[in-house]
């Protein structure tokens, strides 16, 4: 560590250049932080999906319905713990911009299927007692400033009402929290029996089924088995693990992961050039000093290490600061889309990857200049 001040002083030599380089690395890492959080938002369903849950949909597409009656038959299959259906409601709250997902569900069965949604007994009781009752996730409730007891009007886009009223009015009886921050708390659930009774068409039809199996190891077999059950029926099915289902769902929006990786690739390529150029210049203008260090008795390897350390310091200063800023901004300011993403946080995993990226950037940017410094012959360096 006694060499630290020597290395540090090298960075101070061309202050402006060092600061600009550090800033560009810093900005790149803030971007990295945000893109990681956004990607997580899109992948959230995939990452948090239960390994013991399957999703069964219509074989042709998700927008084709399945009969409500399948539930009992699925539950008879050996190894199936329970099955519960869901349906896409797709309504609009005030304006289309305010997107969030809404599902009619069977209260107890659904909450049992999704233990990651945490709701107080009191709220649950109120929901069971209120026919047009609904619950909302904490994020979405905060986004729109909803409180328990509020009336939430939602415009139908698919599911028109028997009574011709274009608006479904729900009574907010509860707010659920996530068991941890990776849980989606941007959803809105209301009672299936109310939905079933009031909808103008499609009675007895649902969108899909969630199926929980006793043992995740048998999930693939059971998926095959339930699909077999409905083969050659008017509504054939396709059953897959929840993670795969969510992935397919996310892919409909576009391959977010690929887009993010492509952007980040371009950004890191650029900062690698910036930092690499900065280090190359730093070594070029210090040839004589490096020769002097060697003349004083510093070995070739020591000089190599010092240049690499300088490059690492540059990259880590910018990188760690960028990650810290991104983390702080993401944590305190929250989702820039104001709640359109189901979850929004910077996961520890991506912070660790960010740290590694900063180190790698430092090493990659410094390696060629460091080798140049290492190879420098003392007599040549001193003659300049």
């Amino acid at each position: 560590m006694k060499y630290f001040s020597v290395i540090w002083s090298s960075l101070k030599r061309k202050k402006t250049r060092s600061i600009l380089t550090i800033l560009s690395i810093l900005v790149a890492f803030i971007l990295y932080g945000y893109l990681s959080a956004i990607r997580l938002g899109f992948d959230a369903g995939v990452e948090v999906s239960g390994v013991d849950r399957l999703v069964m949909q219509h074989k042709v597409s998700l927008i084709q319905f399945l009969p409500e009656s399948y539930e009992a038959r699925i539950e008879q299959v050996q190894g199936v713990d329970s099955a519960v259906h869901g349906t896409w409601f797709g309504g609009i709250y005030q304006k289309p911009m305010n997107f969030f997902s809404q599902f009619p569900v069977k209260v107890e069965e659904y909450l049992d299927m999704y233990p990651e949604y945490v709701i107080s007994d009191e709220h649950k009781k109120a929901w069971l007692e209120t026919r047009n009752g609904a619950i909302a996730g904490r994020t979405i409730a905060e986004r729109f400033g909803w409180k328990v007891g509020d009336r939430i009007p939602i415009q139908a886009t698919i599911w028109t009402r028997k009574d011709g009223n274009p608006t479904w009015e729900f009574n907010l009886v509860g707010i659920y929290d996530g068991v941890d921050k990776s849980t989606d708390t941007t959803q809105f659930f209301f009672r299936y029996d109310y939905f079933q009774e009031a909808r103008s068409f499609g009675s007895g039809n649902v969108g899909w089924y969630w199926i929980r199996v006793d043992n995740p190891d048998n999930a693939a077999e059971i998926a095959k088995e339930v699909d077999q059950l409905f083969a050659n029926s008017p509504a054939e099915t396709k059953t897959q693990p929840e993670a795969a289902f969510m992935q397919g769902f996310a892919k409909q929006i576009g391959d977010i992961g690929f887009i993010m990786t492509a952007i980040l690739g371009a950004v890191f390529f650029t900062i690698l050039l910036v930092a690499g150029n900065s280090m190359a210049q730093a070594v070029r203008e210090r040839i004589q000093e490096i020769a002097v260090l060697k003349a004083l008795g510093f070995t070739h390897t020591a000089v190599l290490a010092m240049v690499l350390a300088e490059s690492l310091l540059l990259a880590c200063l910018g990188g760690f600061a960028g990650l810290a800023i991104a983390w702080t901004m993401i944590t305190t300011m929250g989702d820039p889309t104001n709640g359109s993403l189901p979850v929004f946080f910077l996961p520890v995993k991506d912070v660790v990857i960010g740290v590694l990226l900063a180190v790698l950037t430092g090493l990659a940017a410094g390696i060629l200049p460091a080798i140049r410094a290492q190879k420098l012959q003392i007599a040549d360096g001193l003659r300049r």
């Binding site: 030599r13 002097v292 060697k294 004083l296 008795g297 510093f298």
Partner: protein, 232 residues
């Protein structure tokens, strides 16, 4: 540590050939030189005669093409790169014409640089730096950066850096080449004192007759060979 005849440095049959493209440049040819311990030697000669080249060989900064360089009984031309670096750190103090201080380090930290290669603790290093700076009379400027010092002062810092490890040999390549008369004299006084009071063996390349007169012996070089060898 000198050999049986009191010689600290023994250069025998040294050739130095540089290759520039396909061209061979013979800079030193069959050069022999013995320097007893405690001597203050001035090395003179026209530009391009090979003075710096010879000094580099003595400092272990470069290797002879032929012949041997023995210092304190050690064949330094045969040491590995790594061992040679360690040897330089312990045995050689270098003083350059243009001081070659690190512009981003203050005087004290410049002087401390060679001590970073030792096992000394932080406080011990500080003490050594203080001693070296007071020898050159610059203790009060320890926090100043090279650009805040005059040429003569910078060279004194350079000398402090060269002596801070208490080296066997002090090698100076035109240490006054960039200084005015007055500063030169101060530097030469300093070198002379180091030689006479502390018994340092000094080899100094110079173009300046007055400077050379301070030495105990003057050696003249021409075209890579020693021409005269006279006591000053």
């Amino acid at each position: 540590m000198a050999d049986a005849n009191g010689n600290l440095v023994e250069v025998t049959g040294v050739d130095k050939v540089f290759h520039r493209g396909s061209e061979d440049i013979h800079v030193l040819g069959g050069l022999c030189l013995k320097i007893p311990e405690g001597e203050f030697l001035a090395l003179m000669g026209p530009s391009g005669s090979g003075k710096s080249t010879l000094l580099n060989l003595l400092a272990g900064l470069d290797r002879p093409t032929e012949g041997s360089v023995t210092i304190s009984g050690e064949r330094i031309d045969q040491l590995s790169e790594r061992r040679l670096a360690g040897w330089r750190a312990r045995h050689v103090g270098l003083v350059f014409q243009f001081y070659n201080l690190m512009p981003t380090l203050n005087a004290a930290r410049n002087v401390e640089l060679p001590l970073l290669l030792t096992h000394l603790s932080r406080t011990e290093r500080k003490k050594h730096v203080e001693v070296a700076l007071s020898v050159v009379g610059l203790n009060h400027r320890h926090g100043h950066y090279p650009r805040q010092l005059s040429g003569g002062e910078q060279q004194r810092v350079g000398i402090a850096r060269a002596i801070v490890t208490d080296p066997t040999l002090l090698l100076c390549d035109e240490p006054t080449g960039d200084l005015d008369r007055k500063s030169s004299d101060e530097i030469l006084d300093l070198l002379q004192a180091l030689n006479q009071d502390q018994g340092k063996t000094i080899i100094m390349v110079t173009h300046d007759n007055d400077a050379a007169k301070r030495a105990s012996r003057i050696v003249h070089m021409n075209k890579g060979k020693l021409t005269t060898d006279a006591a000053a």
